[in-house]
């Protein structure tokens, strides 16, 4: 199954370009994290936080490829740190949302009956909450900072995957391999997580790729309005500070940050679509 999917995916040139772009962003994120940790461990101000008022508002040029911001900090260095934050948000919120969604989806689909009723009630309650406002309310209650973002996005976005997995598990439950496993007397947990789960893995992978850009977009939004990241160079904060400067003609910070957000989100969206086509052959009839 995975080999076939890879062959289908590699024939799609656009998807391969996106995969390359995602790999590039991943490298930047890892580099950014290493730089951040290095400066933290040695307890020095990292270069992307150093202010130099004489160098403020330099347009893009030889030393500063993407110019400098209001405090004379290099835009490119901050942009790369922004990739790190975006990745952290994308990955950690997935680590919260996907296990919750998969667990509830599996038990609801497999056991049915009362368990199913409970899970359906739980996710319809969560689905009824007004999305962004609910995330904002959680972030407000937990407190400003990354933790609030992780919990806000993570605890609200498990509903979609829970529904998908529940539907898939219901389909698989009636199949012969599951009946065979039950006839052999295997435990329910083993059947769900060792036998059924690998067969619905593609749903999880596609969901991850498609919810990643959504989480990044939400983080940018939260940091922009001041509820999210506080003192690290997040894209949302950069857009917020660049917004006013734009009106005075300092176009570079705004342009490069929005371009970075656009490329990252676009690459993940297109890759997710291509993955879905490659992994779920029923869709391309």
């Amino acid at each position: 199954m995975w080999g076939d999917a890879w062959r289908r995916l590699s024939k799609n040139r656009l998807a391969m370009v996106c995969l390359g772009l995602v790999a590039f962003f991943t490298l930047l994120a890892v580099y950014g994290e290493i730089v951040c940790r290095y400066h933290e461990a040695r307890d020095i101000t990292p270069f992307y936080q150093k202010t130099n008022l004489e160098m403020a508002f330099q347009p893009p040029g030889g030393v500063h490829w993407m110019g400098t911001d209001a405090l004379g900090r290099d835009v490119m260095a901050r942009l790369i740190q922004g990739v790190t934050i975006a990745y952290k948000v994308g990955i950690i919120t997935s680590l919260i949302a996907i296990p919750i969604g998969v667990f509830f989806g599996c038990i609801a689909g497999y056991f049915g009956g009362k368990v199913d009723d409970f899970v359906v009630w739980l996710y319809s309650t969560f689905a009824s909450m007004p999305g962004l406002l609910f995330i904002l309310a959680i972030a407000m209650v937990v407190g400003r900072g990354l933790l609030g973002i992780y919990l806000g996005i993570g605890l609200t976005t498990w509903v979609g995957i829970c529904r998908l997995i529940r539907g898939e598990v219901i389909k698989h439950k009636g199949q012969t391999y599951v009946q065979a496993a039950q006839a052999l007397g295997l435990g329910d947990g083993r059947i769900i997580f060792k036998h059924i789960l690998p067969n619905v893995m593609h749903v999880i992978i596609v969901t991850f790729t498609l919810r990643f850009p959504a989480a990044v977009g939400t983080e940018v939004f939260l940091s922009f309005i001041g509820i999210g990241v506080q003192d690290q160079p997040s894209w949302g904060l950069m857009i917020n500070s660049a917004r006013m400067r734009l009106w005075q003609g300092m176009w570079w910070e705004m342009t490069f940050v929005t371009l970075a957000v656009f490329l990252l989100v676009l690459a993940f969206n297109l890759l997710g679509d291509a993955l879905r086509d490659a992994l779920d052959p029923r869709l391309n009839d």
Partner: protein, 424 residues
């Protein structure tokens, strides 16, 4: 039909209960000290207590016979002296994790006078002698005792001739009715239709909501209708020219539109169209002209996702047998598409459209605050930034309940259009 509607209404009840519970858990249980979030840390304990009292936050969460009061907050003496460092006639020792009150000294540890109607309880672990709230305490070794007193009595210490040492001290309010909890208070408040009181704006939340609805709707309703018409038409074009350059181009454009951050639409639209070109006013809410730009931005930002969704719906229909039949008997392509397919695709389209209605109410968070439209989105953003808990809770709750109601309406419409639904 009536039976089906009744059944669906009954099924709605658990979700409404779930929504109320979820907002309760988020704000009252997870939220912890709401008074400190709303008022900040630099206010007196008395005003925090008043805030709690007004919102029933000084009651037990679900059930209980005792509740805490801010008059004396629990202090773990094994960690530090806390408030006890403020009195000169009490000496804190970290070795024995206790406080010694000097002989014959008087100390009143209550931060403010208690409600004279209520009954309170001190739990104390002590040694030495003295009185607490008028009761005699005397013991050679460590002893734990409970002292009940009324709020009208003096609650403080008078140390005996040898002084008194305290290891543990807790103050609890005695709750008369154990079911009189925060949850019950919240449910009662909602049943009255009382949405709370905004601490930041000094107005009842229901009035703020009433004032904000119209500006919000004047922005979201045009966005809603124009958005649906434009994206359904474009998705029909996609379906008509399926697998040609036009279709692929529109799909690419919609993915690109989806990937542009919402913020960018607003910042760029405001900068280029309003500020540089001067086509529209930049900020304000005075006439219909002020709404044109936000409406355009709202429509464009939603276009990508909508085209993709409606296109999938149309293409799903295109593979059905009745379409093949229509083509086989020689019906022209435009007629198949606009009459046969569109009619059948209406069901998922209507579902999607009705589910957008709750969001009309909550307004557009960013558009409103960027363009100065005094609607509910603007209200929510300001409430978030000033931690106005009651406002946020009310908007979240109403949004959720509207969602549940719209869900019910879609199901009823569904059953009206498609009789098979009732059988399931």
């Amino acid at each position: 039909m009536l039976k089906y509607i009744l059944k669906r209404v009954v099924q709605m009840v658990p979700t409404v209960i779930g929504v109320v519970l979820l907002t309760f858990i988020l704000f009252n249980v997870v939220g912890g000290d709401l008074a400190a979030i709303a008022l900040g840390k630099k206010v007196s304990l008395q005003s925090l207590e008043t805030f709690d009292e007004e919102r029933g936050l000084n009651k037990p969460l679900f059930f209980g016979t005792r509740s805490t009061t801010r008059a004396y907050e629990d202090q773990d003496l094994s960690e530090n002296a806390g408030r006890w460092s403020g009195w000169s006639n009490a000496v804190y020792s970290s070795e024995t994790a206790s406080v010694a009150i000097k002989p014959n000294a008087t100390i009143d540890p209550l931060a403010f006078s208690l409600d004279p109607q209520d009954e309170f309880e001190w739990k104390i672990a002590y040694r030495g002698s003295g009185t607490l709230a008028g009761r005699e305490l005397a013991s050679e070794g460590w002893k734990t005792e409970t002292v009940r007193f009324r709020g009208a009595e003096a609650g403080g210490f008078v140390a005996g001739p040898d002084g008194i040492e305290i290891k543990k001290l807790k103050l609890r309010k005695v709750v008369k009715n154990p079911f009189d909890s925060q949850l019950w208070f919240y449910v009662k408040q909602l049943a009255r239709g009382d949405m709370g009181y905004s601490e930041g704006l000094k107005q009842p939340v229901s009035k703020l909501l009433k004032d904000g609805v119209l500006p919000s709707l004047s922005l979201t309703i045009p966005i809603f209708f124009i958005g649906v018409v434009v994206s359904v038409s474009l998705s029909l074009i996609c379906a008509f020219f399926r697998d040609t350059f036009i279709d692929r181009f529109l799909v690419m454009v919609s993915v690109a539109l989806m990937s542009i951050n919402y913020l960018v639409y607003i910042v760029a639209g405001q900068y280029f169209l309003a500020y540089r070109q001067g086509l529209f006013p930049v900020w304000g809410y005075e006439s219909a002209r002020y709404l044109i730009l936000p409406v355009i931005i709202g429509v464009v930002s939603g276009l990508g996702a909508n085209i993709r969704f409606y296109r999938t719906v149309m293409l799903d229909e295109m593979y059905k047998d009745y379409v093949r039949t229509a083509f086989a008997k020689g019906v022209a392509k435009p007629r198949v598409l606009f009459v046969h397919v569109l009619k059948n695709a209406m069901i998922p389209i209507i579902t999607n459209v009705v589910m957008l209605i709750p969001f009309l109410y909550t307004g557009s968070l960013l558009l409103e605050s960027f363009f100065g439209i005094p609607g509910l989105g603007y209200l929510s953003i300001n409430a978030l930034l000033s931690s106005d808990v009651d406002v946020i809770r009310a908007i979240v709750l109403i949004g959720a309940i509207l969602f549940v109601i719209c869900n019910l309406l879609t199901d009823i419409c569904y059953a009206l259009v498609d009789p098979r639904v009732k059988l399931k």
